[in-house]
Structures are given as C-alpha cells and as structure tokens.
Amino acid sequence: MTETPLIGDLAAPAAGSALSGARIGVVTFPGTLDDRDAARAVRLAGGTAVPLWHAATELGDVDAVVIPGGFSYGDYLRAGAIARFAPLMDKIIDAAKSDAKLPVLGICNGFQILTESHLLPGSMIKNDHLKFLCRDQVLRIENNTTAWTSDYAAGQEITVPLKNQDGQFIADEKTLDALEAEGRVVFRYVGFNPNGSRRDIAGISNAAGNVVGLMPHPEHAVEAGYGPAHTGTDGLGFFTSVLNKLVGGK
C-alpha cells in the first residue's frame, strides 16, 4: 500500500485498491474534531473518503456516511441537538431510511447526533461520574451482521480508545428489552462500564442494521503503533466491513 500522509489529500483514492471505488462520506460540522481521523481510517481500509459539509443540501455521490466525533456546536443545548438539524442531516436521514439503506456510522458525537435524529433509539446523558474520561476500552462485538461489523467474529473482543463526557447510554426498559431481543445491541463494554450506560451498552443499530452508533472510537485504532497497545488496529474492521459489503455486495 502506498503511504497515507498524516496531512494531505485524504480524499484521493488509494492506489490499486479493489475497494477504492467505494466512496465513504465523512461529515464535518462546526466543532467536529475527528473527521480527518475518520477519513484516514477509510483510506487505510482501502476506500475513498469524501469530505461532506454540514450545510450542503445534497448528499452527492457517496455509498456510505461516517458521522465522526467531536463537539458539534460546542455540545450546547444537548450533545448533537443542533447538528441534528443541519441541512445535510435531512438527506442522511432520508437515505438511511430509504430502500437503498445507506450505511451510516455515528461515532461518539456522531452517535449522539443519530439518537437526536431518532435514527437510533435512546439517548446519551452525562457520565455517571461526571468526568471526562479517556482510556483504552475493551468492547465485545455482540452482533457481526451489521453493515459496519461483518468483518468481526461474533463475540470478538476489541480494544479501541474511548473519550467522552456525555457517554451514558440510557433508554427506557421496554426499549432496552427490544434492543436486546432484536440483536440490536452491537457493542458492549467489557470488564469496566466507563460511564454508567444501561446494560453496559456501548453501541446499537437500527432494525435494518445499516445505521450503527457507538461511543468509543474505532477510527483512532486503525494503524499499528498509534492505537491501543496490543495491536492498535482493532478499529479497522468497521471500515473494511462496510467497504467489503459495498464492493462485494455481501
């Protein structure tokens, strides 16, 4: 693979990759932080990253969308609450609900935006201990049939960074029971619940499995030597999963 520069044109297709024809949009809102890391993860996985601006009124030619982490609108009002009404979000919501089932991944603030959009149920409130927390977090892949987890084994444990203040996933008991029964709890915290999330839930999906959200950050664990110690690349599977699905139709 050709070298991917830390700073450079991340939207350029990866040379010679069979997956480079798949175009993954990465949305930037005012206050988004992790858009470049998400674009880099797409590229390292072999795909083509397409920068998307929140104020755009058309989604353009993309095959999937990542809503990355950060502090859109400074977390004012509620995390994700203002970003949810960006013009581009209307297009993403329509495309995610359409028959084409656009794959959408929301990471951290992106997950909060997806719950505020009601594409995913529940909500995130302040961590039960009230502190911002940054650590390497072990997750279990509870469902490997979603658009974003098919390259993992069911039950596989991965380690990726976690960093948030409003990370406590909550929903009423009926919603939680339905999520469990329908296999829509996609990721669960292992060993330590870092924020008081109900039933150790780290991430969930919609009923169709094309929309997935989680609080931890797979896009920060895609390159050996930079991610958590043991391999550092546990997050790459999110991006190869969706690329393989788009290219291979699996």
């Binding site: 609450a81 203002i82 409130i125 302040k126 039960d128 406590q168 929903a171 008081g196």
Partner: protein
C-alpha cells in the same frame, strides 16, 4: 418586550448526575435540609411585539422538537412573561 419562558427538566425516571453532584455538595456548605436536587434548563424566547396564539404554538413546537429531547426530558412549563 414579552418573553416566552420554557422550563425543561430531566424525566423523573432518568438519573440526573448533575443534580446528584449538587446534592452531595450542599451539606459541605452547611445546607443540610435538602435530600435531593434535580437540575433543569430555563429558556427565554423574546418576542418582538404581542404573543399571539400562533407564536405561542410555535414556542410549544420548538420546545418539543429542539429545546427538549423527549427521550430524556419533559417540558414542564411554558409561560409568557411581560416586560
């Protein structure tokens, strides 16, 4: 100019971590009479001119869609304050 005041509170069944921290801090300052605290939000929407029924309906709609998240919060009060 009149303002429409909207009060939003976390739902009763939702743990309020901020309220819990505050109730823990009160006794340290000698305020020992309070057994629980819940923290909410107050919004003041300024209106240029008279508050008509239509404007009030708009405020109610804004309160339910943007100012609160029905999954975790209730709009507990909407009232018009003159001046």
């Amino acid at each position: 100019m009149p303002r429409i005041v909207v009060d939003v509170m976390p739902k009763p069944e939702i743990l309020d971590p901020q309220g819990k921290a505050i109730v823990g801090a009160l006794p340290r300052l000698g305020f020992t009479s309070f057994s629980a605290v819940r923290q909410g939000k107050r919004f003041e929407l300024t209106v240029d001119g008279e508050v008509t029924d239509e404007i009030l309906a708009q405020a109610r709609n804004a309160a339910e869609t943007l100012l609160s998240n029905p999954v975790i919060e209730d709009v507990v009060n909407i009232e018009v304050v003159e001046g």
